[in-house]
Amino acid sequence: MMVVYSLALKRAIKQKITLVMVMLFPVIIILIPPFPYNIIPFSFTIYGLVIMFTAFILTKQVLDDRAQKTIVRIAASPLNHYAYVGGHVSAYMSILLVQVVFFMLLAVFRFSVSPQFFLVSSLIYIVFALMSIAFSLFWHLFFKSYATSIAVYSVVANIMALAGGLTVPLEMFPERVKDVVVVLPTYWFAYSLDASYNGTYTNIGYTLAILAAFTIGFFAIGSKRSF
């Protein structure tokens, strides 16, 4: 698994887009001015979209392996499929961890955030990052080429972000709409960020558990070996 991990990490870092996603996007995001009202700054929620796309771009390797039939050769090797998936996911997770830490450091300088919020939101981002990786793996299962996969994903991810309250504050949502969008993991991400920004930490455990349950569901399907 460590071999796969280091290899996946190397492959990910070799792509320039990874560095752009990790280093440049958090900086751009952090520069977005906050709302004049007393609600969570836009940067915090829209960063969820960046996480989703970073995870998606990173998991490109898995789709490429399948498209170029590398996965068949790996299947013939003594390498366990779970070691393959585990190595890749932990490599992507490390990169996303770096990004989250980088973003949170920038956030500390840009906005005056409480230490509680800093800790809780970091935790939320980490769980959401894992969820995004699981979701991307699940998503890639339905496509044979990266081009179509990302084309459809960019539409779906933006809709998820919009409906889940990443690009539009949840406060603006009518109750009937909220009833529908609860099925999206992005809703619970935005919900928990909102709650922790407002200092109500009672439901954070539940929302983190919800994100974890989404992660397990997506991983269960996404980790399936398909050739």
């Binding site: 539940y206 929302t207 349950a213 569901g217 269960a220």
Partner: protein, 361 residues
């Protein structure tokens, strides 16, 4: 028949299950994080169950957990209904249990029974559909297998036919060579000898004798030509009894005891072909599967039938089921209105009986 990849008896349960989860979702209050956590956990757990093929008895564990949760979150018990959809058999004991136990708990709504009814109806429909599809698939497989066997049989028979016509040609050539040698050859030789004697007795030296010598030379040349023709016409390849004899002689372990009865020369090429292929198959089988101490081969030609009997005492357990070779042998013989009987008491014996056909000579 092209099967729909997205809607078939295999995918349908997942749709109905998803739909039932949606129904549960909107009959509870989904905005409450605790309720939603419960639902999404149930969904994820079901995915894990499907993915890692957990045993279906885990349903009872789920049931106990949900009964406990029912006291904290009213309506949790509804979540026991969606898992019913992906049972591969009729979930009768499970359904009976979940229909009965809510009597012990208060606050069970009408919705619960409504869902249960709908679910059982859908499960029944799914299972009937699945059974139907499986039956159709099975029938298809059976027909495909039959077609495959028929094609194989056709190939064998076509090959046999070609081989038989080739053998018939060889047989005919042999018959012509024999006729030339026996009838024409002897007559000509007789004439040649008579003329030679005549020349010795007369011993004249004139123009009449010259013409006689010319005729005599021509007769000698034609005799020569006849000999060459006979030589060329007789087939080099062995066939018929010769092949049979060669096969028996070449078999070494152990050397077979051969017994031949009747006029085997009157057996037709078609019958020879069948007899020889049976012998070949039988000898191959003996080499492959049995290690006998004795092998007996008996060929008998009577007025009505041609019969070949091959027996060996090396009966092993492997010889119990008839393989492809024996099946093809049987088919070949049956195509000639013959019969094959195989007995396996102490000795493994194959008896092939063919009706005698009139020789065309």
């Amino acid at each position: 028949m092209q099967k729909n990849r997205y809607l078939s008896e295999k995918t349908f349960p997942y749709y109905t299950q998803g739909l039932s989860y949606l129904m549960v979702l909107y009959s509870l209050s989904p905005q409450s994080p605790a309720v939603f956590l419960l639902i999404i956990s149930s969904i994820s757990f079901n995915i894990v169950k499907w993915r890692f093929k957990l045993p279906s008895t885990i349903f009872y564990l789920e049931f106990v957990v949900l009964i406990i949760l029912e006291t904290f979150i009213p309506g949790s018990l509804l979540l026991i209904i969606p898992p019913l959809f992906i049972f591969k058999r009729w979930p009768v004991p499970e359904a009976a249990l979940i229909a009965f136990v809510p009597f012990l708990i208060q606050n069970v709504t009408f919705q619960y029974y409504l869902f249960l009814g709908i679910a059982l109806f859908a499960v029944t429909f799914q299972l009937l559909w699945k059974n139907d599809a499986e039956q159709a698939e099975l029938n298809n497989d059976r027909l495909r297998k039959r077609l495959y066997l028929q094609e194989g049989r056709m190939d064998t028979l076509l090959n046999d036919q070609q081989e038989i016509s080739r053998l018939a040609a060889l047989h005919e050539r042999d018959r012509i060579a024999q006729k030339l040698h026996d009838d024409l050859g002897h007559e000509l030789t007789g004439a040649h000898l008579s003329l030679k004697a005549y020349k010795t007795i007369v011993n004249r030296n004139d123009s009449v004798m010259e013409a006689f010598d010319k005729g005599f030379e021509r007769l000698e040349r034609s005799l020569q030509a006849l000999r060459q023709t006979v030589e060329a016409t007789r087939p080099l390849e062995s066939f018929g009894f010769e092949t049979f004899k060669n096969m028996v002689d070449q078999f070494e372990s152990p050397r077979p005891v051969l017994e031949v009865k009747g006029n085997v020369w009157s057996i037709t090429p078609k019958a020879w072909y069948a007899v020889n292929s049976v012998l070949k198959e039988a000898l191959t089988n003996i080499t492959k599967h049995a290690s006998p101490d004795e092998v007996h081969i008996r060929l008998e030609q009577t007025d009505a039938i041609t019969q070949l009997k091959i027996s060996n005492d090396g009966l092993t357990s492997q010889t119990n089921n008839a393989g492809h070779g024996l099946r093809f042998m049987r088919r070949r013989i049956e195509a000639l209105n013959g019969m094959v009987s195989i007995t396996k008491t102490n000795w493994f014996t194959i008896i092939v009986t063919l009706p005698r056909e009139e020789h065309d000579a």
